[in-house]
């Protein structure tokens, strides 16, 4: 990896902590998870399920918000504040800048999400609430989904403002979850092979964030196979590579 990418990545991390958004989100997330651990209004036997559900959702929500806040203000933020002129006047290529932003965001998000996963694991071990390894796997899968979301957001940020970038990224995320419903409806309303083919194409080409959802395994004490983890990592890498490539190509063409 070129040194300039590492320099940019380090800068992104430093800025993420300087802005306080990420630490505050992480603190809030940790606070909610800890508070949930002491709620005992749920009926006997399901407290641990409820706790795991809340913790997984909090990690996901706060992680996703942190990703969007961090990534959407990277490229477009630099363009809006005109600091991009200074950056591009340095001996750095545009694709290196995009890659640096991506890897920096991934590292910053990992640091923000890790304490929440650690708290989940701590209370799981105290309450004997299932395998800690599965919790780590679930945390890793969530981080992979944030990586893909970062790549999507960076691709959008290469041609839009930070607000538009955040809004469009959320839209892509929601669309990825709704495509299951669209395919189900397509199967119900038409028997056309063309429609079925189009639905299948949609399924394979649009991002599928459901791949990273292993909440069931953690909550219902199932095991996520290592092969699934490996394949999902491949999927995240391919999807991130596609969106980063799109982003860099658009960014290369932009004139400042």
């Amino acid at each position: 990896m070129p040194a300039s990418v590492l320099v940019v990545a380090r800068q992104v991390m430093r800025e993420a902590w300087r802005r306080r958004t990420l630490p505050v989100l992480a603190l809030f997330g940790c606070g909610i998870i800890i508070a949930t651990a002491f709620l005992s209004f749920f009926q006997l036997g399901t407290e641990i399920k409820f706790f795991k559900d809340v913790a997984m959702t909090v990690i996901f929500l706060f992680g996703a918000v942190a990703t969007l806040v961090l990534v959407s203000t990277q490229l477009s933020g630099e363009i809006e504040s005109r600091t991009i002129y200074n950056v591009l006047s340095k001996p750095i290529r545009r694709y290196e800048l995009v890659l640096g932003k991506f890897f920096g965001a991934l590292a910053a998000i990992a640091v923000a999400v890790a304490p929440m996963v650690a708290i989940l694991m701590f209370f799981m071990s105290v309450d004997q609430g299932g395998s800690l390894l599965e919790a780590v796997k679930a945390g890793y899968m969530l981080w992979l989904s944030f990586a893909v979301l970062s790549a999507v957001a960076l691709a959008i940020a290469s041609f839009s403002s930070s607000v538009v970038c955040a809004a469009l990224s959320v839209l892509v995320y929601v669309a990825s979850y709704l495509k299951g419903a669209v395919i189900a409806y397509a199967g119900m309303v038409t028997y056309s092979r063309l429609a079925a083919g189009a639905a299948q194409t949609f399924y394979y080409l649009l991002p599928n964030f459901e791949n990273f959802n292993v909440r069931t395994a953690v909550v219902h004490n199932a095991v996520v196979p290592w092969a699934y983890l490996f394949r999902t990592t491949l999927y995240a890498a391919a999807l991130s590579a596609f969106f980063l490539y799109l982003g860099t190509q658009i960014f290369e063409e932009r004139e400042f």
């Binding site: 809340v54 709704l178 959802n213 996520v224 699934y228 491949l234 999927y235 999807l239």
Partner: protein, 242 residues
Amino acid sequence: MIAQRFARYRTVLTALVLLACVAGAQALVDVYRPAANDEAGVQFSAAAEVVRGFAGQIRGLLADFIWLRVDEYAHRRRVVDGDINRGDDEALMPLVRLITWLDPHYVSAYALGGQWLAFHFGKPREAVLFYDEGIRNNPAAGDLLTGVAFVDWRLLHDNKAAASRVEQAASVTNDDQVRFQAFWLEAHILLDGGDRAGALRVWRRVGTMPGYSQTAQHFIDQIAHGKAVPAAPAAGSGTLHP
């Protein structure tokens, strides 16, 4: 010349290759998806897909919060026309349905919904269908098997089906207490159907379970003295309120 021409299409070609990689990786993931998340193998209706799609990754938490509401409804008993069993039943079933869409492994929701359909709405056949859906999604849920057995026995008077469901409930668990409860119910169902030999056979099996020999002997003695036979429900009626 060729290189220049190629350069023009390089971006599109690379993007297409990367898209092909995405599709290939998705196909690879699909192979293992049911192993990582058995919800992937559950057949949902289109309406359920929409609800699940909008809920996204927070569907588990949503199901939990709706369950809190269901729990409140179920326990907030009030006397309606002199009947304490008629609480907020109408409000409860749609919520139960939503929970099972959001989390098809919510065994408690299936158990409560089945019981409500059978004993509060007087729809035992719909209850059996609902229980069956729950059992399909949670094959190891003994609670659902004993629940549907109870409906088969007391409301549909199908003792044979009921006994076979309870037998299945006893076989899906390693927990002796749960197995004992299943056998206890099976013995009563068999006795109710006049199958004393079958009931004795069940109690002898209970007797082989560690710690249950005295209990089993007690029931065997009771049967020998013509006791331990549950009261038969009145003809044409079932136990409406368990």
